[in-house]
Amino acid sequence: MKRVVITGQGAISALGQSAEENLTAMREGRNGIGTLEFPNADRLSITIGGQLKTYDPGARFTRQQITLYDVFTQFALIAAEEAVAQSGLVFSDELAADAGVVLGTAGGGLQTQDENYRSVYEDGKNRVHPFVVPRLMNNAAASHVSMVHGLQGPAFTVATACASSNHAMGQAFNLIRTGASKVMLAGGSESMLCFGGIKAWEGLRVMSKDGCRPFSANRNGMVQGEGAAVFVFEEYEHARTRGADILAEVVGFAMTSDASDIVMPNKQGAKRAIAGALRDAGLPGEAIGYINAHGTGTTANDRTECAAVREVFGAHADSLMISSTKSMHGHLIGGTGAVELLACIMALREGVIAPTINYESPDPECDLDVVPNTAREARVEATLSNAFAFGGLNAVLALKRFA
């Protein structure tokens, strides 16, 4: 089995338009959630989200590119470009054949669907733009990333709702580990902040109207965000030989299915995924200093997640730190695990633990060290990143400090 390391990271979310801007916001415990602004937002009962307010597609892409790129593709391309630049990789013909991309998304080109349904149903038009299909397809982001960087190996999209990014990064990890690929761009992207996207979520009645407060007794639901993060996963010998700056090592991954309920989380499924990631990494529970929680801010998730962590870690559950950065950037659905992996890498590399902001009152059912409200300095050797999706699909990644 090959070792897998991360040699580049890129991100865009309501917290900032680069990985560094996102990390700075996480260190400062900044809130990226505000009032949603898009057509017909006045007809929504949920009016907040982690929206990219200052993002200007025209500053990043040409008019022809924008014609082809849904916003979720734009976000993925921006994050991928940053990650590749940091890695210093040049995809020569030889490497390109051994390099690929796997990205998570849940909604794909939902903005494109929303705009074009509006056009044919509401505006009564009988003709749509010729590129509607290539814009909206779920693999559009992965395909454009592969085209821009010339990646000719494995390229695909994973859709497992809120666990999409973690499943995607887990696939990338295993492709490199088994020797099927040398370099994989991995992560996820999402852009559901449009009228149809939020209206659909309103129906389920799990969204908060006033804020994302994971683990806090007064939490009342999730808040959506948008954006992307992409990482360069690279085979260790390849990275070492070229003298790459290694950000962290990916050491374990596990996925499980609850096989029980389409929306309610299940402690057993979460527990098996967490324990499986530890086992895959060959790490004892005591090695984990920080967990980036799924921490959606719903009553059910946070309670179930904390119970699963307690069962897996036993007494060590009281020594480790667990935070939900969704409190700052919102829930990026299919892109969320990717943006959250930034916090794991920051913990390992910089010894800074991102906080759970908006924490107001303790919940006895979430009595772990959730790093309330302010970031903390701590030396951490290994971290986990949890993702537990609707549909009962769980994916947990384990990262280790590279020394």
Binding site: L204, R205, N220, G221, V263, M264, T299
Partner: protein, 88 residues
Amino acid sequence: MPKSVEEQVIAIIAEQALIEPGDVSMDSTLEDLGIDSLGLVEAVFAIEETFDVSVPFNANDPAESEFDITNVKSMVAAVEKLVVEKSG
């Protein structure tokens, strides 16, 4: 004669419980009727569509919502109140 609010709410609940409206008792709880969280969200949606009202209900913590789901009787009363408030 138009159906009363009570009859319509009971019909909605019966549909979710997969039983006849006549078999829904006013004291029944959702649990008695075998209605799970998804069934409840669907019932709330049906109530909103039927009466053109907005039901104050958060699926995160149904017990803490303003909409009293203790039993069929409490739900009927809550909907009657919403209907009155709307026409008033």
